[in-house]
């Protein structure tokens, strides 16, 4: 605890705070004196007010809950699916030979373009949203799992052989623990992606949550509220990542890759 405090003290960065405050001040003054040519640009104080109001009324909280719930649900499915596909690709030559290229072809499909298809199939529903999230966030897990499996040092497998481990023992004791770190790094990337894609899906697919909130605020010409949603979405991303990092570090204290980045 004390080390965390002292680290926070060391990380306190006065010039950065001054820069940020100066930029915000410039923005505020620019809007108040109407020197900017954008009529809908709100001043930082208006954004703060709108955000505070939306939090008080519970509107933004409810929207956040919806978005986070969808993102996390999609992320869990994507992580499990991605790890399974990744392991199959890495350890079965058959799977790799027959499915590798097909997956490579699907991977660059932009998630946004997938939304209209999902809407046609599932309507403007939560299913649409989660399907799109899964489709988008499964890739980093697959890629990182495969990379982790490929990076297993041959010496480690030699060790398994000299210790006369069975196939299952080798998988459980050597392969999975060796793949886990990079699979989890992939899962962390996937969570950030899941949140962003949830917002995208809400904008054009499922009218709910933060993404829909931004669009309705735009259409209702409420720039302050719109920026409030923007800030809330950003903050939520940071918060989610911090939670994930903390729980990963608690669950798997031995993984260096997660402790560092």
């Amino acid at each position: 605890m004390r080390s965390m405090l002292s680290r926070a003290a060391a990380a306190f960065n006065a010039p950065a705070l001054a820069t940020a405050v100066a930029l915000l001040g410039l923005w505020e003054v620019g809007v108040r004196t109407a020197t900017t040519r954008f009529e809908f640009l709100p001043a930082p104080s208006e954004i703060g007010e709108a955000l505070y109001g939306a939090i008080r009324s519970g509107q933004i909280i409810g929207d956040s809950m919806h978005t986070v719930a969808c993102a996390v649900a999609g992320w869990i499915v994507a992580s499990a699916l991605g790890a399974a596909i990744g392991l199959a690709l890495a350890f079965s030559p058959m799977v790799r030979r027959f499915f590798g290229t097909s997956l490579e072809l699907l991977r660059p499909l932009p998630a946004v373009a997938f939304v209209p298809v999902a809407v046609l199939l599932f309507g403007f529903t939560v299913t649409t949203e989660i399907t799109v999230i899964v489709f988008a966030s499964v890739w980093p897990v697959i890629v990182n799992t495969v990379a982790g499996a490929k990076a297993i040092h041959p010496r480690l497998l030699d060790t398994a052989a000299t210790l006369h481990l069975s196939r299952m023992q080798r998988l459980g004791k050597i392969v999975l623990p060796a793949v886990l770190p990079s699979a989890m790094v992939g899962a962390r990337v996937a969570l950030g992606l899941a949140l962003v894609v949830a917002v995208i899906a809400e904008m054009v697919g499922n009218p709910a949550g933060l993404g829909w909130g931004v669009v309705t605020a735009q259409e209702a010409l409420q720039p302050g509220l719109m920026f409030g949603y923007l800030v809330a979405t950003g903050a939520l991303g940071v918060l989610l990542n911090a939670c994930l990092r903390a729980s990963f570090a608690r669950l798997f204290p031995g993984i260096r890759e997660l402790a560092q980045s």
Partner: protein
């Protein structure tokens, strides 16, 4: 001189033959990898009902695409999206290399600007689209702005870490050879950073495509995204699937082009 040229060409000829063989083997194995996808599409074609409102077979997709092409909508839309993405990538690369280079080179600047940039980076680019549409208005400037905002970060971060990982000996060699600031930038920094910059651009390209499509969907500005959304609103499933393949091909081609450029540009560095 002639003799050295001839001897230099011999291995190149051999290498190109080897390369052709390699490519043929690769193509064969790639085809094998495509089999499940081809089988799925064939099955879909054979079993699918052409009048199905949800799962029209691939031939219906093609028909829908041909119709859009002959009505003169598809090609301009593809070009429009490509133009936005390409221009935004150029602007984002220039900005990212400039800002990233300065931040990487100056710890003081990094300390002042770092947290502000870090905050801006947390804002999901798609959320910026409606915001920019309201404030800047629905026009090309706004589209360029939102795509650049999405594509900037990978280039910037890669450039910054590239500058920081430059080996001190390289910079000292430049100093001890008394190269001026301009020569140092053009002869040392940019070539040495090229791999990092190109990696950043390749990460940025799919983001640029996503945000460009989203901007077109939300504002119905001309482009592939608008076409897709219109097709969905008209419940034209065949066209939606057809356009999805076009978008996929678009991303695939752009990525392949960038990868080819990267390996060409990095060849002399032995890093491709």
């Amino acid at each position: 001189m002639i003799a050295t040229n001839a001897s230099a060409q011999a291995p190149i000829g051999r290498a190109s033959r080897q390369w052709a063989l390699h490519a043929a083997v690769n193509a064969a194995s790639a085809l094998q990898g495509l089999l499940p996808l081809i089988a799925l599409l064939l099955l879909w074609q054979v079993l699918g009902d052409p009048r199905s409102p949800y799962f029209p077979p691939p031939s219906a997709w093609a028909a829908a695409l041909i119709e859009r092409t002959s009505s003169g909508e598809l090609l301009p839309a593809v070009l429009m999206t490509f133009q936005s993405v390409a221009m935004a990538l150029v602007v984002a690369t220039a900005l990212g290399v400039g800002i990233g280079g300065l931040i990487g080179a100056s710890p003081r600047l990094a300390r002042c600007l770092g947290p502000t940039l870090e905050f801006l980076r947390t804002l999901p680019p798609p959320t910026i689209v409606p915001v920019a549409a309201l404030i800047v208005g629905v026009n090309d400037t706004m589209k360029l702005f939102v795509i650049v905002f999405a594509a900037l970060w990978p280039v910037l971060l890669n450039t910054t870490s590239g500058v920081r990982s430059l080996h001190p000996t390289l910079l000292e060699a430049a100093r001890s050879l008394q190269l001026g600031p301009l020569a140092r930038i053009t002869k040392i920094f940019l070539p040495a950073l090229l791999p990092s910059i190109l990696t950043g651009v390749r990460v940025a390209a799919p983001l640029a495509i996503i945000v460009s499509l989203l901007a077109e969907m939300l504002t119905l500005m001309p482009g592939l995204g608008a076409l897709l959304l219109t097709a969905q609103r008209n419940f034209n499933a065949a066209e939606v699937f057809g356009l999805l393949t076009v978008v996929g091909a678009f991303g695939f081609v752009l990525n392949a082009a960038l990868a080819a450029f990267e390996s060409w540009a990095l060849k002399p560095q032995g890093r491709s």
